[in-house]
């Protein structure tokens, strides 16, 4: 137990927030101070994270909470809190380490941007919010940081504000994730109503502990699904995945930090965090809510992998790959492999950040060209980038032994294979493995091999400030493969809090070889398919993709992202916009008229409205006189000037009184 670190956990979000505020108040020219402050705050945060990680290592199943009262309303109190357990500690370490690398990288990448200081302010803000998500011990606090993370994502996607496409993408990201967040919000309300508290762990009284869960009963399924809506939005799961590829409009470090390593993984983290809700009343590890999670994950993983094959933007390929990997993690959680999912999350955080930073380096070197068909042959021009990118690519493709992604992917496949309701997810995941290897090979070949094409002419290796983070991340990726190796399953036990068990028999079985073969097949097919693609001439950027040549219709379908965006635009968005117009119209003409019909008896005579306009035109004279005159004019507002109309109104009023009298009597 380490109460010291526990009571200092609040510093994790607070330090980057403070850095953000200070940086925002700096003038634009103070670039050094801005980046220095941001990086210093990241270093502090990393230190705290390590300090927080140590005690969790010492005790298996360590969990310490610190709850506090946010405010008192009426006689009730609303509790928030921080929690430190292996899940949080691992996340913290990953976020702060990857974050630090990306911050350093950004100093080089954003070097010639006018709004350099603002960028670091936003990034610090994001970092604070994301760390807050990791340590929140209350669904409410979780939600609050979650929304702030979304805000930071919004600000950073739209960082290049003068680009309309960036602004549109930012808006799309915020709104799409907010759809999910509304579900999350409702789920939170329901949970609060059902269990009477939103604090996760509170000495047995929290909503994820025995008593709280027992109160929920059957509603837990619905609550879990509503909360899952939030995860679907944030983690870019089908059908709310559409924002994530567009989010690549932001600067590449942003894509690396937010839209690859941390924020998008927050959805997975959320499911893992409230896992007791999902698994409540499980028979044989299966509940209806978890089944939904599995199928959503499978759909997403496969769909995104398919789309990634047909993309030509280097970042978009990675974005779809992220979506696909997140789907994989969801599947893992859904089938019960929480530890496997989180391990993949951590590994993915490293190698995907590495890939994105690598792509950033490539883009930087190619003078902000993102089309892979215009690159090529960068292997020699950018050796460091190539080497680190290759490590990331192998990790993502799932090559085992030295690359972390392979092991965690293996674990997930393992867990999926044992899922009792159906074997279909397992087979679909295997197909996903092939596809992943395929599209990563394709990318590698297009970017780093073959002839140099137009954008690669004047490419150059990035400065040290950018390559150093790449190297660190690459080392991290390789190092994690040691940590995560199934031969030493401490991570599994660390996360689940159970004692270690290891059997070589579990590791070495046909399943492992199947997937290994499939990875090999994927890479081999890729090399075979694209063996010629790399050798195209420099000006043949629009060369037909081999797959497009073979299956033009299918390729177009995939290249256009299965037309999901178009489908949404034609149906949901069109419907919403139409209802907005309808509301406006109803307001102006229908409700207004109706209420006026009730309100103004004068309307009976149809004089009121027609005279209104006349009066408005006539009345432009005496605006400046106050008091009695204004009053007189105001009363005259209701008058048409027709004596007989007045009489009629009086008579009708009399009748009304008579009726009223009769009704009351």
């Amino acid at each position: 137990m380490n109460p010291g670190i526990l009571s200092n956990l609040w510093l994790l979000p607070a330090v980057p927030f403070a850095a953000a505020v200070v940086i925002l108040s700096l003038p634009k020219s103070r670039r050094k101070i801005a980046s220095g402050l941001a990086i210093a705050s990241q270093v502090i945060v990393l230190g705290i994270s390590i300090a927080a990680f140590v005690p969790t290592l010492r005790t298996p199943g360590f969990r310490a909470v610190q709850n506090f009262t946010w405010f008192t309303f009426g006689e009730q109190t609303l509790q928030l809190g921080f929690v430190l357990d292996p899940l949080a500690a691992a996340m913290l370490l990953m976020i702060s380490l990857v974050g630090l690398c990306i911050f350093v990288f950004s100093v080089g990448y954003m070097a010639d941007d006018v709004n350099f200081t603002r960028f670091f302010a936003y990034m610090s803000f994001f970092s604070g919010a994301m760390l807050g998500v990791a340590i929140a011990n209350s669904l409410l606090l979780f939600f609050m940081f979650w929304e702030l993370v979304g805000l930071a994502s919004y600000l950073l996607i739209g960082f290049w504000i003068d680009r309309p496409s960036a602004a549109a993408a930012a808006k799309k990201a915020f709104i799409t994730t907010r759809i999910g967040d509304m579900g999350f919000f409702l789920g939170m309300l329901w949970l609060y109503h059902g269990s009477g508290t939103l604090v996760f762990y509170n000495d047995g009284r929290g909503c994820l502990e025995g008593a709280g869960l027992a109160l929920l009963g059957g509603s837990a399924t619905f609550i879990a699904l509503l909360i899952f809506c939030g995860a679907v939005g944030k983690s870019g799961q089908f059908p709310l995945h559409v924002w994530l590829p567009d989010a690549m409009e932001g600067p590449t470090p942003v894509s690396a930090l937010i839209h690859a390593a941390t924020m998008v993984a927050a959805g997975v983290f959320l499911v893992a965090r409230v896992y007791p809700l999902f698994s409540l009343g499980a028979t044989n590890g299966v509940t209806s809510s978890l089944t939904v999670v599995v199928w959503i994950g499978v759909t997403t993983a496969l769909m995104a992998a398919l789309i990634a094959i047909a993309q030509s933007d280097i970042k978009r390929i990675l974005a779809y790959s992220t979506v696909s990997q997140l789907g994989l993690m969801m599947v893992s959680l859904g089938v019960g492999g929480v530890a496997a999912g989180i391990m993949h999350l951590l590994a993915h955080g490293f190698f995907k950040a590495l890939l994105f930073l690598g792509s950033g380096s490539v883009i930087h070197g190619c003078h902000h060209e993102q089309d892979i068909r215009k690159m090529g042959g960068l292997r020699r021009l950018m050796p460091v980038t190539f080497a680190t990118y290759a490590i990331g690519m192998l990790a993502l493709s799932g090559v085992p032994l030295f690359f972390s992604g392979g092991w965690s992917k293996e674990e997930i496949l393992h867990a999926t294979a044992h899922w009792s309701p159906s074997r279909a997810p397992y087979y679909l995941m295997l197909a996903g493995v092939v596809l992943t290897a395929l599209y990563m090979t394709r990318q590698m070949i297009y970017v780093f091999f073959g002839n140099r094409r137009s954008a690669a002419e004047h490419a150059h290796e990035s400065p040290r400030v950018m390559t150093m983070p790449l190297i660190v991340l690459a080392i991290g990726t390789v190092f994690l493969s040691v940590v995560l190796t199934p031969a030493w399953p401490w991570m599994d036990d660390y996360l689940t809090g159970e004692s270690a068990h290891f059997s070589i028999a579990e590791l070495i079985q046909p399943m492992l070889f199947i997937s290994l073969v499939l990875v090999g097949v994927g890479i081999a097919v890729g090399i075979w398919l694209y063996r010629k693609a790399g050798e195209q001439d420099r000006d043949r950027a629009a060369e037909v993709d081999p797959l497009e040549y073979a299956q033009p219709a299918v390729f177009r379908f995939l290249a256009n992202k299965m037309w999901i965006d178009e489908l949404y635009a034609r149906t949901i968005i069109a419907f919403a916009w139409a209802s907005a117009r309808l509301s406006d119209w109803m307001d102006r003409y229908f409700w207004d008229g109706l209420v006026r019909g009730f309100g103004a008896i004068g309307q009976l005579f149809g004089v009121f409205t027609t005279d209104m306009d006349e009066r408005c035109i006539n009345a432009g004279v005496d605006e400046t006189t106050v008091g009695a005159r204004g009053l007189g004019r105001l009363l005259s507002g209701a008058h048409s000037g027709q004596i007989q109309m007045y009489l009629g109104v009086v008579a009708v009023g009399m009748l009304a009184l008579l009726l009223l009298y009769a009704w009351l009597a």
Partner: protein, 108 residues
């Protein structure tokens, strides 16, 4: 037979109501300003009839209130008629018409 023919209070009230409604009809449907005035006079007269009828059918002791109010009401309506007619003439001088449809200066 006798009972039906006796003018009971409801009967008188019905006649008064009819008179009132006819007055209202005149005031609402005639275009001529004077006849709007006449209509109003007629409604006032109907009201007077009510006062008298209630006085007459009131149980003892009979306070003379009904009669008094009728007298005052007649006096006031006379004053109203005088001023009203004077206004009709004045307005007529201005507009050269007594058709109230064309009087709309009261509006704001």
């Amino acid at each position: 037979m006798y009972r039906i023919m006796t003018p009971t209070l409801p009967l008188v009230l019905i006649v008064s109501a009819a008179l009132f409604s006819i007055g209202l009809l005149a005031a609402l449907s005639r275009r001529h300003a004077i006849f709007i005035l006449i209509g109003i006079e007629m409604m006032l007269a109907a009201a007077n009839l009510n006062f008298i009828a209630f006085w007459r059918f009131a149980p003892p002791p009979h306070p003379s209130t009904g009669v008094m109010i009728a007298i005052f009401s007649i006096a006031i309506s006379a004053a109203e008629a005088a001023v009203g007619l004077a206004m009709v003439i004045a307005v007529y001088r201005h507009y050269r018409t007594t058709n109230v449809d064309e009087y709309d200066q009261l509006k704001g």
